[in-house]
Symmetry: C2
Subunit: 340 residues, 2 copies
DNA sequence: AGTTAGCACTCGACCGAGGTGAGTGCTAAC
DNA sequence: GTTAGCACTCACCTCGGTCGAGTGCTAACT
């Protein structure tokens, strides 16, 4: 007994119906609602086969069937293979990005917001990370008599800043001079490299110890794995729209997972190069998400950096819609970042 | 029939018990658990009076009584009046702030986190706002050949920045020169004032039109009510710990309110000068929070700026604990910001 | 051989009856 | 003014019965 064309069509109908209704679907429903030209009895036989093949589960003997993770997997693979993602969502996404935003964080937050409101699921957006950005300019701005702001501009246009304390009294011009010489030394290097050669620089410029030490620390802190910094999450409570989470206990564990940004980031973070990832139920590897699916896509900044956007919802997710929206969103973000 | 001492003690016992158990409390419970030296019958009579006075509600005729909003109000006023907030929480709060943080946002986020985990309710922290900060320094940092970063340092040490596009090609030194002259013109003024006199400056410095226009926009955008910028929220899902929110529909509406930062900020934002505000049930003025209470406290930065921290929980909130924790947290934040 | 109709069977959902127990209000006695 | 006692109320639980959606199996039809 293999998986023939007809079985597949029936399976697809079952999945479609279940995605819509979240109710176990019976043979009669399929035979009537999706006119297959087959009687319910025949469907029943096929469903029995599909269950044996592992594509369907039966919550109890006299309920309909529901698709298994394996079924969704098949369904999604098909979608991805065919590549026919209907794209009426494109306009919607684009419309939301008309007023373009200044800051990275704004963009990230906004993207998560849009993504969740378009899909009605929970959305997560990770900022771009990638090869160590290279320093382009470093500048010190006086903040008070004992503090200065360090602004570092990198080749990907990303700006990092921090306030450091300087024990000495330094005026604006002196700081500018120091900035210029530091820029000369550091331009073109990564933060990692900056940490390495920093002792030499410190040796050469013996004055301004306090300042240099502060700078050293800053480099140190920021050179590590580009710190999963800001993770934007949107539509946290969307999950409650779906009956599978009407159980409060489930909802609780899901929502508290959503609160721990770090964990979430590591779950979402894309490994590999794929345009899309779809992890279904147990494939997520997270017990709290045993009946969730995670769909992610990547975007890139045109400076070799990559970011991830993702949607989390019940396994009976509208994969078609979600994939298409993620695709569009990915494009938009890539465009937005690459000419910025 | 008035409110005598004994009635008050009974009411207090009822509130305490209800806060703990969330179950309507009956006369027998009070007479046994809180030994008043009175029989259940007597308590019953008193409770009947208290109900008539509007301090107790009876969900149905044969259940116990639950405290009304009016009762909580009385209870809280008493707490605030007596001022005896037990302070074993002080150490806990302090412990969480040992590693002090660099950036405003980090502090805010962390504070919300701590506050929610200490209270087990949902916590909200608003960044300090206050009288228009005055410009101390303005500096332009080149980002690319067509963009520059504007950094503005204000007297409260707060740094605002944005990237603006400059149509002209400007090198670092030129930008520095412009920065210096702009700083001279603008130092000591508020952003509001900067907007007003900006046309004159533009007229005087006719070159660099693109740049000046970008700057103008930036001032304009930031001069408004100090933009409820970053609102930190912690323990969103804590509300689900409490049986009054085991109804999914209620939880949903609560959580989606928590998602709209702006709205939340305006709800929490403290009017008036009071150290503490307690709004109970309908007093919140938000229908979604008909059976929530909001407790807020303020902290200040020592530069005339004030921020708000708040806790949102069910009306049967542990007011005592919450008030004391908020108080301590407020102090810690004030200290942290004032010498920064 | 595949398809279909028919039928017995299963099992969750829904409904109403009855029992249980916490809690009240009232009355009468202390 | 306080207390004991008692009848009464009402949410909640459990139990049995009915209903209906859905299945699996068998036998007949194409």
């Amino acid at each position: 007994m293999g998986m023939d064309e007809r079985k597949f069509r029936i399976l697809q109908a079952i999945i479609d119906d279940y995605i819509l209704t979240a109710v176990p679907v019976g043979s009669r429903t399929i035979s009537k609602k999706y006119d297959m030209g087959l009687s319910s009895a025949t469907i029943r036989n096929e469903m029995s086969d599909l269950e044996e093949l592992g594509y369907l589960d039966q919550p109890h003997v006299s309920a309909g069937r529901i698709p298994s993770a394996k079924a969704y997997r098949l369904y999604v693979d098909q979608l991805l293979h065919e590549g026919r993602l209907h794209s009426d969502s494109e306009a919607a996404v684009r419309a939301h990005f008309l007023g373009r935003m200044r800051q990275m964080e704004d963009v990230i937050d906004h993207a998560a917001q849009v993504l969740s409101s378009l899909t009605n699921y929970t959305a997560v957006v990770l900022p771009p990370t990638g090869p160590q950005p290279r320093i382009r300019t470093l500048q010190l701005v006086p903040v008070s008599s004992t503090a200065a702001l360090v602004v570092i501009v990198t080749d990907s246009g990303i700006v990092r800043d921090t306030v450091i304390r300087v024990s000495d009294q330094l005026d604006s011009d002196t700081l500018y001079a120091i900035s210029k010489s530091l820029t000369k030394e550091l331009a073109g290097r990564t933060l990692q490299e900056a940490v390495e050669i920093f002792p030499q620089i410190t040796a050469r410029m013996q004055d301004n110890e306090g300042l240099l030490q502060g700078l050293g620390n800053f480099f140190q802190e920021n050179s590590g794995a580009a710190s999963h910094a800001h993770v934007a999450i949107g539509g946290r409570s969307n999950i409650l729209n779906y009956p599978e989470y009407s159980d409060t206990e489930k909802a609780r564990s899901f929502l508290s997972l959503m609160e721990t940004r770090d964990k979430l980031a590591s779950i979402i973070a894309q490994q590999g190069e794929m345009a899309f990832t779809v992890r279904i139920g147990p494939e997520t590897g997270v017990p709290e998400m045993a009946d969730c699916s995670i769909v992610t896509a990547t975007y890139s900044t045109g400076h070799g950096q990559q970011g991830t956007i993702g949607v989390i919802g019940p396994t009976r997710m509208q994969y078609n819609r979600v994939l298409s929206i993620l695709g569009t969103m990915g494009h938009q973000l890539s465009e937005l970042f690459s000419d910025d």
